[in-house]
Amino acid sequence: MEEQIDENLRRVYAQATEEEVPERFLTLLEQLRKQPRKADKTPGGGEGDAS
């Protein structure tokens, strides 16, 4: 019985992971990238203080 549970669990989960990622997240990542970096460990980053 537990195998049936796990099998169904994995199939439902796989269905969710196989969906195409909505544009909103890719857009969000793009926007985040454009922000000036805070507390970067590596020096560099030619942007000045944007805020």
Partner: protein
């Protein structure tokens, strides 16, 4: 520039899993995607705290579930479609010898507690070890094991897989031990 890959570049790879995990928590696709959005922003802002080379997915999942519990969880045990799902689980179903309909499974799954869904998804679907799941959820390994076992038993019960009439593990002592107070 560091030699290791920048976690910022890796985030996109974890989006499908984040959405799936968020859905298991929020049980509603719109809330789940809002949850992922909030978690992504938080993750980005806190990437300086991420230990390079450590498990990025687990780290992201930790942020996701913390965001869920602090911001998006409305009420305890809220069921998304109480009438429909409840009816589905209460109806007498014949024994399923083969595979179960995924709808049956989903209807039962959303009735588990938050902590049970979370533990079962991490361990059973995502393949986290008990230790990784415990670290992600901020609780003891034994607690995760209980929640996973309890989740499975409850699903079996809800889907009438063990339809002998008696239910599994419902004596009051067990219930008292397994109340779903989050340990944090």
């Amino acid at each position: 520039m560091s030699n290791a890959s920048d976690p910022r570049d890796e985030l996109v790879q974890h989006l499908p899993a984040m959405r799936a995990f968020a859905l298991s928590l929020a049980r509603n696709p719109a809330t789940a995607d809002d949850l992922v959005q909030d978690a992504l922003v938080k993750a980005w802002d806190n990437l300086d705290k991420f230990e390079p080379g450590s498990n990025l997915r687990a780290w992201l999942f930790t942020i996701l579930r913390n965001t869920y519990y602090s911001m998006h969880r409305k009420r305890r045990r809220e069921v998304e479609d109480p009438e429909g799902l409840h009816a589905a689980s209460m109806s007498e179903k014949p024994h399923h010898d083969g595979r179960l309909a995924m709808d049956d499974f989903r209807a039962a799954f959303v009735q588990l507690t938050d902590e049970q869904r979370e533990a079962l998804t991490l361990v059973g679907a995502e393949g986290f070890s008990y230790e990784e799941a415990a670290a992600t959820c901020g609780c003891a390994v034994g607690t995760i094991k209980s929640r996973v076992n309890r989740a499975r038993a409850r699903l079996i019960e809800l889907m009438h897989l063990d339809d002998e009439g008696d239910v599994v593990m419902t004596d009051s002592a067990t219930l008292a031990v397994l109340t779903d107070k989050p340990l944090a």
